[in-house]
Each structure stands twice: as C-alpha cells, then as structure tokens.
Amino acid sequence: MSAVLQNLVNQPYKHGFVTEIESDIAPKGLNEEIIRLISSKKNEPEWMLTFRLQAYEKWLSMSEPRWQNVKYPKIDFQSISYYSAPKPKKKLASMDEVDPELLRTFEKLGVPMHERAALAGVAVDVIFDSVSVATTYKEKLAEVGIIFCSISEAVQTHPELVKKYLGTVVPVGDNFYAALNSAVFTDGSFCFIPKGVKCPMDLSTYFRINTEESGQFERTLIIAEEGASVSYLEGCTAPRFDTNQLHAAVVELIALDNAEIKYSTVQNWYAGDEKGIGGIYNFVTKRGLAKGANSRISWTQVETGSAITWKYPSCILRGENSVGEFYSVAVTNNYQQADTGTKMIHIGRNTRSTIISKSISAGHSNSSYRGLVRISPTAENARNYSQCDSMLIGNQCSANTFPYIQVNNNSAKVEHEASTSKIGEDQLFYFLQRGIDTEEAVSMIINGFCKEVFQQLPMEFAVEATKLLSFKLEGSVG
C-alpha cells in the first residue's frame, strides 16, 4: 500500500458545516409525553398517536440488538432530542421563497435544486432536519394523480392511504430501531402512484442532519398501485460533528400487481475523522413488499459514509412471478464499520431474486455482507442468484461474508458466490506502464469492480457515485 494512496484516502470531509437556522428543539429524552408532544406539534389525528404509543410500548419491552458485527459505545436514548424543526415561516409556493441561508447550504453541497429540477426533470422534496421545507414539481405530478409529499402532510391530506399502508411492511415491533422510529418519526416522504401510472420523472429527496445531537428518524412510504411504476432516489450528505448522531430510518415499499418500484440511495454522511471519532450511526430498516403478481422491487445503494452503516434493504416476494433485486456498493475507510446486505423472502410461485454486493474496505475499517435467502415451502420454482465480492485495501481492514441460505422447496434453484481480492501490484504496474498514474488507475479499477452496481443507478447518481468513490479512496491503495 503506497503513500500516495494513503494520502488520497485521508481527504477531509468536504461537506462539514453547520447552517445557522433557528431550530425548535424538544427537550432531550424519550417518554410518552415527548411522543404526545411530537404528535400534537404535527397536529396528528388520534390514530397516528395510537400508532406511535403502541410502537413506544413495544420499544420499551425490546432490547438493543447485539448480533451485528459492529462495535460502538452504548447509546443513551435519553440524551437525544427527538424533535427539531426549523421555525415555520410561511407556506412556500416557489423556490424563491425558501430561506436564502438554506439555499446556500444546498449550494455548498452541490445540489443545484432549481437547476437540477429544471434540467433533469427531478422533483426534489427537501427534508431539512425532519421537516419538509419545499416541494417542487408537485403540481406536475398531481396532474397524473401522483401524490408526492412529506409524510406529515400526507397524514393530514390523505389519512386513509397512510392508515392503510403505514406499518404493514415493517410492523411497529419489527425490531428495536424500527419500533423507535415508529414511535418518534418526525417526517419523511410519502409517495403514491395510482393504478396504471408510470411516474414521468425520477422522484428524489435529500436528507440532511443538521441540528447537533438531534437523532433523525425518517419515515418513507412508497406505494405503487396496479401497473404503476416509479424510480425513487435518496441522496445524503451531512455536516461534520464530533458527537455521534443516531439515524434510524424506516422505509416501506409496497408494489401491487404488475407494479415496479426502484429505490436508489447514495449515502455520504459524515464518517468520523481518521481516528474514528464522530460520525453518524446509520441504523436503517428498509423493506419492500412485492405484494401483487409480476411486481418488481429493486434496491440500489452506494454506501460510502457513516461511522456505522447497518442496514438490510429487503424484499418480501409474495406475489406470483414477483422479482426482487439488490445492488450494493459499500465503501469503508479509516474506522468505518458496515454490516449490510439484504433479505430475499420468497413466498410466491416463480419468484426471482438477484443480489449483487460489492464491498471495498480500506484503512482500519470493517465491512460485512450479511444476507438471507429464504425459499418458503410455497415458493415453487423460485430462483435466486447472489454474488458478493469484497476488495481489501491494506492489511488493517477486514471483510466478512455471512450468507444465510434456507431452502424449503426442492423446485427452487439458489446460487451463491463470493470472492475476495485486492488491487494487485501487477494491475497497477500495467496501468503505469500505459502512462496512467496510480491515482487514476485505482479509480478505474474500483469503478470496474463496481460497474455492475453503478449501471443500475440513474444517470446523475451514477456520476456522483463514481466521483464519490474516487475521492473516498484517494490515497489508500498502492
């Protein structure tokens, strides 16, 4: 491993700054009163409060999971503030009305919202510390009957839809962090694609964690009715902080007959400094239910940030002929830890799933793939193909693979392959000999390694991801 690469990896986090906006912060700690406070602040109906309280009750009876292959100090759930919102100004109709301070923040992050919106046709639902500030293109989407808004707005305007689907894929007591999220979530996105509608543009949200020590609990719910299709993008950057921040989001996807949902994530939150101090804890529950026949759910993720990433975007393939896909690139450096993978639960007949997972570990980091492929007795002719490749850069890091394969039906066909490799001296030599310097060579090798996943990303994300990876690993190989 060369010094050049070391230097390249050790680039400081480019998105570390705090925007000074007056925040409305709830006192630290979690109890029933705080939940009632969140609910009343958001002017929620009674059933929503009941949902939260049920989740809270479950959460109290659960204990923090310890089976994962990551290490972190015990989280004090009573020292977190569970609600923080920018002070409401006035309802905004256009981008011009947005707080200029906020706009400058996005500018620094390289998110030219209006420009991007106009050029790429992306409607961006901006989440700034839990509250949706501005939603663009809403009207255009409304024309075809698509509802795309913040979940708190959806609770007000479409309570029947939220009530019908919320918590059906990830029940309130599903796991410790999902229960916590269900009890205290403040905002998130809601998306409903009605019968037969193909969403005319990629939908997108940007998450930012702003107020220091405010854990962010996002809740996303996407429903695609019969024959509908949608591609949803989630991109993340967070400012630099030295205290660890907890992020426990829940994402639920529901696809009915012939529907298609594609969910893409690029995650680049603050990963802590080179000594492993600070950084975000990203403990997320993401699950899609392919409920109808011929439905399809596809997860694509590029995980480069967070001190700890711990998530398993999963697919429950209930409908006949339904398809589940998982494409992932996880990059860890310094003292980052990632325990990520997927679950493919085959229930319906002729269900198919594909898993492509690439992990790159450098520095002192630790990366694990943990996956489950379960073929239920009812899943006749189910088919799964999994491939997990790991690349190690340096001898202080580690890569682990924990694939669980459970087959209860003899007509199923399940294949799993995994390999581990490194960037070889001879590979680098080959590039150098052709006049390509080490830095570029490494970037090319890594991009080649991750190509199968990047191909699944929407265009602008693919560009971003390629760049991210190169500066993330700059200096770590050689």
């Binding site: 001898n395 890569a399 459970q406 087959v407 003899n410």
Partner: protein, 431 residues
Amino acid sequence: MSTATSHSYLDHLVQSWQKPSTSSWLDQLRANAMDSAGALRMPTTQDEEWRFTDISPLSRLPYPVAQSTFKVQLSDIEHYYLEEASCRLVFVDGQFAPELSNIAHNAGAIIGNLSSLLPTHGDTIARYLGQLAEFENDVFTALNTAFLRDSACIIIPANKSVTTPIHLLFISRQTEVTSYPRCLLIAEAGSHATIIEDYITTEEASYVTNSIVEMNLADSAHINHIRVQRDNQQAFHIGNCTVSLAHASQYHSVSITLGAYISRYNLNVILSGEGAECAADGLVLISERQLADTHTFIDHAQPHGKSRQLHKCIVDSMAHGVFNGKIMVRPHAQLTDSAQLSRNLLLTNKARIDTKPQLEIFADDVKCAHGATVGQLDKEEIFYLKSRGLSDLTARNLLTYAFGGEVIDRIPISSLKRQLEEIVLARTQIS
C-alpha cells in the same frame, strides 16, 4: 417449561459423575471438564451455532453413561472390517475391545488404547490429550472429557510412513445410554498415515454418541482422515474433531454422514504453521426425519495456507440438512488460498436445507472464494440422458448417485469406497 425438565439429559449426567479418587493429571482434566459441564447448559435454537438444529428431543432423555459389560459377536461386525486395514482398534460403547482389535501389524506406529499406552507414553499423551478439544464453551466436549475413560491413541513417529490404513471402529451396542468415543492422534514431523474413523451399531433403538477426535500434525506431516457415521436412524450423534496443522503439514479429510436421527459434526482445522494445506470434503445423505448438521471452521492463522472444501448434501423425504462453513483468515495470514463449495440436492418438496458458507477475512493479499447452490437435478442433464435412451427414472437415479459419488471418489481406500458406493447406490435409487 422449567429448566429442570428441559435439561434433564445434562443434569442427569452431571449428577451421575463421580469425583475421581486420585489427583493425577488425567483426573484433574476430568474434574476441570466437569466444572465446565456443570456451568454450561444444553444449546438451544436461540444459540446462533445451533440455530437450525433443535436438539431438544435429546435434552429430555436421561441417558446414563454406557457400561462396559456388553460383548459383541464377531459375526455381527465382521463385515465392517476392511481388507486393506491390517491395523484395527475396536471400541464397544467407547470401551476398548482387545479381542476384536488387531494392533500387531502397526508398521512402526504406536497404536493402542489410553490405559495400555499410559505407562510407556504417558508424558506425550499428557501433553496433547484435551489440548485441542477445548471444553470451556462446549457442553458436549466438556461431557466427553469429564467421562473420559478410554481413548484410541495413535502416535506416528517422525518420518515414519504407515502405508496401510488404521481402522478405528466404534460400535454402539447398548441402547438408551451415552457413549464417549475418543481419539488422539500425534503425527510427528514428516510422518504419514491414513486414519479411518467409523461409527456403526448393531442395535435398532436410540442411544447417544458423543465423540471427540484430536489430531496434532507436526511439521510436514501428512494425514488422511476418513470419517464414516452410520448410526441407526434413532440415534443421536454429536462429533467434534479438532485438527492442528504445523508448518507445511497436510490434512485431507472426507466425512460421510449417513445415519442418526439428529447428528452434528464439528470440524475445526487450525492452520497454525506456514504453508499448511487442508482439504475437507463431506457428503451427507439423509432421508425420513433425519437431521444432519455439519459445522466446519477452517482457521488460517499463518501465511501461505491453502484450503479446499467440497460439501454435498442429498436430502430426501422430510429430512433436514444444515451446513455452516466458516473460513477465517487472520490478519497476518497473507497469501492464503481458500476455496469452499457447498452443494445441495433436495429430492422432495418436504426436504429442507439451511446452508451458510461464511468468510471472515482480515488480510488483504489473499484469494478466497466460496459458493453455494441448492436445487434439484438439472433438467438439461436428465434430458441428455433420456436422449441416450435412459428412462426418466434411471436418468434421475444415475444423476443422484453421481452427485454423491464425487465425494466418495475422494476416499483412497478401495474396499471402503466400494461399501459406501453400494450404500449410496441403494439409498439413491427410487423405483
């Protein structure tokens, strides 16, 4: 359920244990093991290592330790003898049976049971016995060590090559008891031998076999290890084998699992010297309500190690196969080359497989790959054979047999290979 009833198997055994009268190293070892056994509990499916293997049926059985009074008729077991193996150690319910054994033609190796070798080789045995099989965290290892009365002991002197295989025949003769077979192998530098570990029974009712094998391979030693488990379908079989490989030593093993109602085989191989090599193959062939669980752990602790593993399961009727293959590459074990493949064939729609090939890698300059497949017979292959004039049934039988045959083929002893081929053939033919 109260803990008293759920753990009565363990409680019963712990209570029946008698404190040894002497303070010899062996009795001290037993006493330490019993302390561990007393502090441990029976594993449940809540334990990650036993997640798919529910041994609660065993937990309820108050099977005492087997007594040593039972005799076996030569005619009952003669057909298990192997013509190549001139050297044979027979144990009945864990106790040495000298009248059935033959250790005359030992080709220079030191072979015998524990009590016969203690006077002459006590120091060597004391140095190795119970060292690899750690009992602190494993209740079955702790029980075996606590009730250690006899053991097969094999010492292959340095640079000695034992050309004929050494056959260890463990017979279960009593029912509703627990027996504790044990084997200690010390292969000195540059030695070479083939060991066959064979579990059979003459009975048709339930019993428990809890076996431990410890193999120590010194520099450049080369050991072939064939393990055959053919208990009856009511039996419980828990087997533990730990192998330590020194510099440039080679360990090749083939494990065949055919019997037992619930069986578990743990194979731990530690490549503790540079350039060690390990091949661990397995075939599990089960039917009815059998459950066979194989856990292997190949630990690359030093550089330049090489490991190969092919594990196959053929699961018929309502049987359940479990495989967990963990490969660890420690931080300094650079240039490790490791490959593992788990292949599984489900013959009916009630059969079940849980497989988990697992890699944990802490070194960057390594080559590690693993794969797993679960499925049924390939339609293309069946079609090919049918196009050559075979009936559908014959084609299926042939392919099933060939699936298992690949592992049997790796056994270097032709008479044993023939025996097993016949069993696999008989078990895989549906008419």
